[in-house]
Symmetry: C2
Subunit: 168 residues, 2 copies
């Protein structure tokens, strides 16, 4: 239920990669200014290069990632990973949509007035956003053993990432 697209998942992996690089995963030296090329990200995440390029372009247009063009250019996080929330990340890739289809600005809903479920979906939406606001990119990049969120259910599925076609 409540799927996100593969591209959103990939995009998150890319952000995690940038966050890890920024804190100097390789040599222990922290350098938030460190630029990663698309090729570097593709190699690090094992995602296909064209897909990574596409997603990085999208991210660069958002406020989460900055880019430097030309030789020796690349991408880096625009802000501290601790200040970037999962809600913001999903906004970049999925757009600021609500969970109900009819919530886009230019759609007309003739059931609007009498609709008995409208208000409740809105509350559900806010509840979900609240949960997403609690998770930062820093958490994603370096998850602590005990997470700040309450474990509300044992029903969550195992999570795995599928490799793009042509790998594995």
């Amino acid at each position: 239920m409540l799927r996100i697209s593969k591209l959103t998942d990939y995009g998150t992996m890319i952000l995690v990669h940038l966050a890890v690089r920024a804190r100097g995963a390789k040599d222990g030296v922290v350098d938030p200014e460190h630029l990663c090329s698309a090729s570097d990200v593709a190699a690090g995440t094992r995602l296909a290069l064209p897909t990574v390029q596409k997603l990085l372009k999208l991210l660069a247009r958002s406020e989460l990632v900055r880019s430097v063009r030309g030789a020796e250019g690349g991408y880096a996080l625009a802000r501290n990973p601790a200040t970037i929330t999962a809600a913001e990340i999903l906004d970049v890739f999925e757009g600021p949509l609500s969970i109900t289809e009819c919530s886009t600005a230019d759609s007309r809903c003739e059931l609007e007035d009498g609709c008995p479920t409208g208000g409740a979906w809105q509350k559900i939406n806010r509840g979900i956003r609240g949960a997403l606001d609690e998770i930062s990119l820093a958490d994603l990049a370096h998850p602590p053993r005990e997470f700040p969120l309450v474990d509300l259910s044992g029903r969550a599925s195992r999570l795995r990432h599928r490799l793009p076609p042509g790998q594995g």
Copy 2:
């Protein structure tokens, strides 16, 4: 972000209709055994009949709705609306999926071991489920002014329901 499909939205409207009928919206007499035909639901929700039929069939296979065949047959909620949660409803229509694509049972994920985001997505998923567990069908059918959920964000979009083609 985090869309549900139109059919899920429609399905929820159908469940709300059944809940309202069960508590006797018309004459004030409460009758949880009251059966609604697909035609009655279609008329009440203003959704197209074939779509309603399809969704009611799906619901009847779940544990949320029971059906009676033959003349004078129809559909009714299998349980008290207060005990049916939004999480259960979404499970019926969207399946027990996680928010990440790769979480289905038969997919293989070569990034599984080293995947730095897996655990966090899982926590996000649980947080969302927690929010959905707080909303009952009874809430959806008869939303109180003040909702049990905390209002965590002012960013939620207006919610409207779009009519199916051929209406309006």
